[in-house]
């Protein structure tokens, strides 16, 4: 029998010869490695943040360590020339002082981390974060949801093709640019408009922040709305409902879990956003419910102070504690958005969504 040109085995032989396909093998492992690495990095950040906050909870051991590294400040003090020497002095004092970060101190209403008697009251920072987040989400959520409704149900195709990318483009906008815009333009405009006392305050920060939050809520809401099957809207229209009635009474209720998720993600973004609030809120740690007072948020506190804090100091640990709180909060929000909402959606559409 003449040997075949291509001597690859055929039939039964081909089936029984298990081949190694190097490219596929490689591709599979590279993908596995990459996903594992990104997962590991997240876990490591997680551990790092908590580890740095941990000494607060066993102060005695921490103090010895703190003294050793007390002089080893890092970052520069160019940002605020007048405050820098005071801070340097205070942190040296701190190291020797008795444990300043008791629970009572942390639950206080004053945030004066750099002073001879440092006060690490987290309440004004939490209140600040809460205020700015609420303002921004209360502004952003209705706008984002209505724009999403408009683009997915009412806008003609050409307008939809302009609006959708434009709003989504906003999410890629550098937050420092939004912050700068708020600092220079929005703040002045609003002060002229409303005539309040402080130029930079929670309201200005919230409005600026809503610019960053809108695209997030919009994108997720838009996905939720387009997941509503067309036969649902058709059913409503065939009953003689107008488009608006259909949108309000059928589409929105059916998309509620998705919109809820969108708002949660928006809250997460607003809560963690640093640069915009750092630039536009005035950064005074006040305990006030007035939205026209300056505020200092948790994220802005970390952003402003981390570079100037004494490494290993109580202040440093407290900043990491704030970081942990931020982290846990956004993590919880995302988890709820993901699991709870998905379960709800599944239930609504009987597993078909």
């Amino acid at each position: 029998m003449k040997p075949r040109k291509n001597d690859a085995p055929t039939g039964r032989a081909a089936l029984l010869r298990k081949r190694v396909r190097p490219v596929e093998f490689l591709a599979e492992y590279i993908i596995k490695a990459v996903s594992f690495v990104s997962f590991a990095v997240i876990i490591l950040i997680f551990i790092f943040v908590f580890r740095e906050a941990a000494p607060l909870f066993y102060q005695s051991e921490h103090h010895a360590a703190a003294e050793e590294v007390a002089q080893e400040t890092y970052g520069d003090d160019s940002a605020d020339q007048s405050a820098a020497p005071a801070k340097e002095k205070a942190s040296v004092d701190n190291a020797g002082a008795e444990s300043p970060a008791t629970f009572q101190n942390l639950a206080g209403t004053e945030w004066q981390p750099v002073s001879s008697k440092p006060k690490f009251g987290l309440l004004p920072l939490m209140l600040g974060s809460f205020k700015v987040t609420m303002i921004s989400v209360l502004i952003a959520a209705p706008i984002a949801v209505f724009v999403a409704l408009f683009t997915s149900f009412f806008a003609p195709k050409w307008l939809q093709q302009i609006l959708k990318p434009t709003v989504e483009f906003l999410s890629g906008f550098p937050s420092v640019v939004i912050g700068f815009f708020a600092l220079v333009e929005i703040a002045t405009l609003f002060q002229n408009l409303f005539g309040y006392e402080y130029r930079l305050n929670a309201f200005v920060g919230g409005v600026a922040l809503s610019l960053a939050v809108i695209p997030i809520i919009y994108t997720v809401t838009d996905d939720a709305l387009s997941a509503i099957p067309s036969y649902m809207t058709e059913a409503s229209l065939a009953l003689g409902a107008t488009r608006w009635q259909t949108a309000l009474f059928v589409v929105l209720p059916a998309a509620t879990p998705g919109i809820f998720a969108a708002v949660l993600l928006g809250i997460g973004r607003a809560f963690g956003e640093t640069m915009i609030v750092l630039m536009a809120t005035g950064n005074a740690a006040l305990m006030s419910l007035d939205i026209f007072q300056p505020v200092r948020t948790m994220s802005a506190t970390i952003g402003a102070e981390m570079a100037e804090v004494v490494f290993g100091d109580t202040h440093y640990n407290v900043l990491f504690l704030i970081g942990s709180i931020l982290f846990l909060f956004t993590f919880a929000l995302n988890a709820v958005a993901e699991f709870y909402v998905r379960a709800r959606l599944m239930k609504r559409f009987g597993g078909s969504a």
Binding site: K157, P229, Y231, M232, E234, A235, S236, L237, A238, L239, G240, A241, T242, Q245, F249, V250, P253, A254, R348, F349, G350
Partner: protein, 260 residues
């Protein structure tokens, strides 16, 4: 075709005159003129893609929802041309209800599903809504099965029950005409039989147009049958006559199963 139909004693509820429909440049309906009598069931049959669903959807202007659809000719509901200039499409769809192939209850309770139509029409009084819901569910032959638990989600019902819920929902806005787009194609034989029985009862009060793939079904439930092929109305006649003595060769070939 029109002249061959004896609609003696019944006036036409729906009629079309030289109806043409285009999807972009593709013509989906070609010069269709037909009279569908009041309080009768008219079946539309024909192979897939022959235009029967398109025709049905042009009767309450559901085709308006699709981009690039162009319609010429007229469709009369009663004596009003629904493609005329001053037609309120929303009002039209209240009068000409539609049942879809895939049962599509809202993700709401049974009660809220049926009450949806009256509510968007401004009915707010609980007692009135209760009455409408009960009457509609009774007419859709679903009341006995669900009256105990109207708060249950409409999606928790079986396929056949869901379809009857959709019928009840359509009846709740008090339409004059019911358009049914293969309402039983996704149902088992028992649920199908129920829907067919229901249609027989409903034609007392409503004019029904049904699209069906199932020729036995057309023969069972309809009084008149229209056979569509390639966007054209090939033959339209009383169901009995169309199935026993079709005049066109294509009709005969289709109903005897030689193509389609």
């Amino acid at each position: 075709m029109l002249s061959t139909v004896t609609t003696a004693g019944v006036r036409p509820k729906l009629s079309t005159k030289n109806l043409n429909l285009f999807y972009g440049s593709k013509q989906a309906l070609n010069d269709i003129s037909v009279n569908m009598p009041e309080h009768r069931v008219t079946a539309l049959i024909g192979p897939s893609g022959c235009g029967k669903s398109t025709f049905l959807r042009s009767l309450n202007r559901m085709n308006d929802l699709i981009a690039n659809v162009k319609v010429t000719g007229s469709v009369f509901v009663g004596d009003v041309d629904i493609y005329g200039e001053r037609i309120d499409v929303v009002e039209l769809r209240k009068r000409v209800g539609m049942i879809f192939q895939k049962s599509n209850p809202f993700p709401k309770s049974i009660y809220d599903n049926v009450a949806y139509g009256p509510r968007i029409n401004g009915v707010r009084v609980k007692r009135v809504l209760d009455e409408i819901v009960e009457r509609s569910l009774r007419r859709a032959a679903l009341w006995e099965e669900v009256s105990g638990d109207l708060k249950k989600s409409g999606l928790a019902l079986s396929g056949g029950q869901q379809q009857r819920l959709c019928i009840a929902r359509a009846l709740a806005v008090d339409p004059e005409v019911l358009l049914m787009d293969e309402p039983a194609s996704a149902l088992d034989p028992i649920a199908t039989a129920k829907i067919e029985e229901l249609m027989y009862e409903l034609k007392e009060n409503y004019t029904i147009v049904i699209v069906t793939h199932n020729m036995q079904q057309a023969a069972r439930v309809s009084d008149y049958t229209a056979f569509f092929y390639m966007g054209k109305l090939i033959e339209y006649d009383e169901t009995k006559r169309l199935f026993t003595t079709p005049k066109q060769k294509q009709t005969e070939e289709y109903i005897t199963g030689r193509f389609g």
